[in-house]
Amino acid sequence: MTIGDFLKQDSEWLKGTGPSANIVMSSRARLARNIDKAPFSNWANRTQLEKIMNQAREAVSGSSLLKNAMFIRLKDLGEVDRTFLVERHLMSPEHAQEAEFKALIVDPGEVLSIMINEEDHLRIQILQSGLNLKECWRMIDEIDTEISKKLSYAYSAKWGYLTACPTNTGTGLRCSVMVHLPALVFAGQIGKVLQAVGKLGLNVRGLYGEGTDAIGNIFQISNQVSMGITEEDVIDNIERITNQIIAREDAVRKTILLKSKEALVDRVSRAYGTLKSAHIITSNETITLLSAIRLGVDLGVVKNLDRRMVNELFILTQPAHLQKLEGKGLDSSERDIKRADLIREKLK
């Protein structure tokens, strides 16, 4: 299997399945782990980085849970391939930079990935469709325990897992959910909601773009602190707050259907019309229009499309995905044409 084969399958974060999948696109858990008595990746020299990579690779290769996983040295990949993995949420944008001693381990189902020599020696990640943080934690806990039998982790009884940045020290756990909140944005309530979430010790940011102007109305909610709180409590907090946001978004959706159905249908149909007939379209415009259509599908005003198809378009229209599909490099204006071609073809 090569990373190109990923093109044939749905990315986990866009499968559109799992609990509350109409609003929660995906859930993710990430653990930061370091090898004891070795310099952190930013401070290690070439020999040390190579050693860390080999140690990590060996520890992981012995794991029964990772039997079929691919080991990818990032220096063997071109820029498009690296961006492709970032677009599929299998690694961070930072991991695609200065790639000489970096590696990625990823399972064929794209649920589990491990970044080696990012900011920390190991960054283990589990991705699940829908609101599913408990399952994310169950899986990542199991894998982490297995790896810890082979690798001696940097850990202190007082401060927990020791990480390169003190903001991750303690559990080393960052959990996040990606939520699609078009109705709250449409009704002008999103600012209030985001502010409230911020006050409860959680972080919110737009998946694309910034703050309340997030393109495509997709927001990522994650925990801020990792010390003085157990993993279970972190997850419980995020799930509870997310459930409240879901209820709010749902309520506003119902109100829109009841009171401004025509305006909604108009908006969704115009988005559909533009996507079906455009010959040149940017990535941002695509995301904005797809968000409207996704809402239309969720509310039953678009009948001949399913959520899976809309989700698929979210990712296939990203720059590196278009270039992988085309099999060659494309500049931004060539991409805008190819993107429009692809969307027209899919929506035919």
């Binding site: 930013n42 810890s148 009884a157 020290t169 003085g228």
Partner: protein, 170 residues
């Protein structure tokens, strides 16, 4: 819409800043946004934020603190203030005086209560139980529930003895 800064080009980047609960919106063209972005990064880099907090509650003079060096990896506290990242896991011990207050400021707590790795699992769990027992015993004494306090005291003694025996064995 035109850029708020240069007033010439089309604004494509929209920033929302919240200062003291007041929201201001900025609409910028790509060039001005890059400039603004660079400026913001300079002012609001994570390392600066951490560095700003890093002196909190420090009991030693900043100049002396800056020169403290990690004996394992050679990283200095000044390096940390510049980069916002530590050099190795031993740095936590080398800079513990400075990092304690900093961790507390970041997380609102300076004690880990989550997962414990297998290797150290038993000892740490025992220590946590022990701490809990001692706290309960003190509370019982305060509330004059002496029977309960005596029961807890015996339990603590038993645990201490068990710990000592295991140590002797190994």
């Amino acid at each position: 819409m035109q850029c708020d800064v240069c007033g010439k080009k089309e604004a494509t980047v929209h920033l929302t800043e919240i200062v003291n609960d007041k929201m201001t919106k900025l609409h910028l063209c790509e060039d001005c946004a890059k400039e603004k972005g660079a400026e913001m990064e300079e002012h609001f880099g994570l390392s600066d934020l951490l560095a700003g907090l890093a002196d909190l509650g420090a009991t030693i003079e900043p100049e002396i603190a800056e020169a403290v060096k990690c004996s394992f990896c050679g990283f200095t506290y000044q390096d940390f203030r510049k980069m916002g990242r530590l050099g190795c896991s031993e740095c936590y011990d080398s800079f513990k005086k400075q990092l304690g207050p900093l961790l507390k400021r970041i997380h609102g707590a300076d004690r880990h209560v989550g997962k414990v790795p297998l290797m150290v699992g038993k000892t740490v769990k025992d220590a946590r139980t022990m701490q809990e027992l001692k706290q309960r015993m003190e509370k019982a004494i305060q509330q004059e529930e002496f029977e309960e306090a005596a029961r807890l005291r015996d339990k603590i003694k038993e645990m201490e003895k068990k710990g000592k025996d295991e140590k002797d064995k190994s």
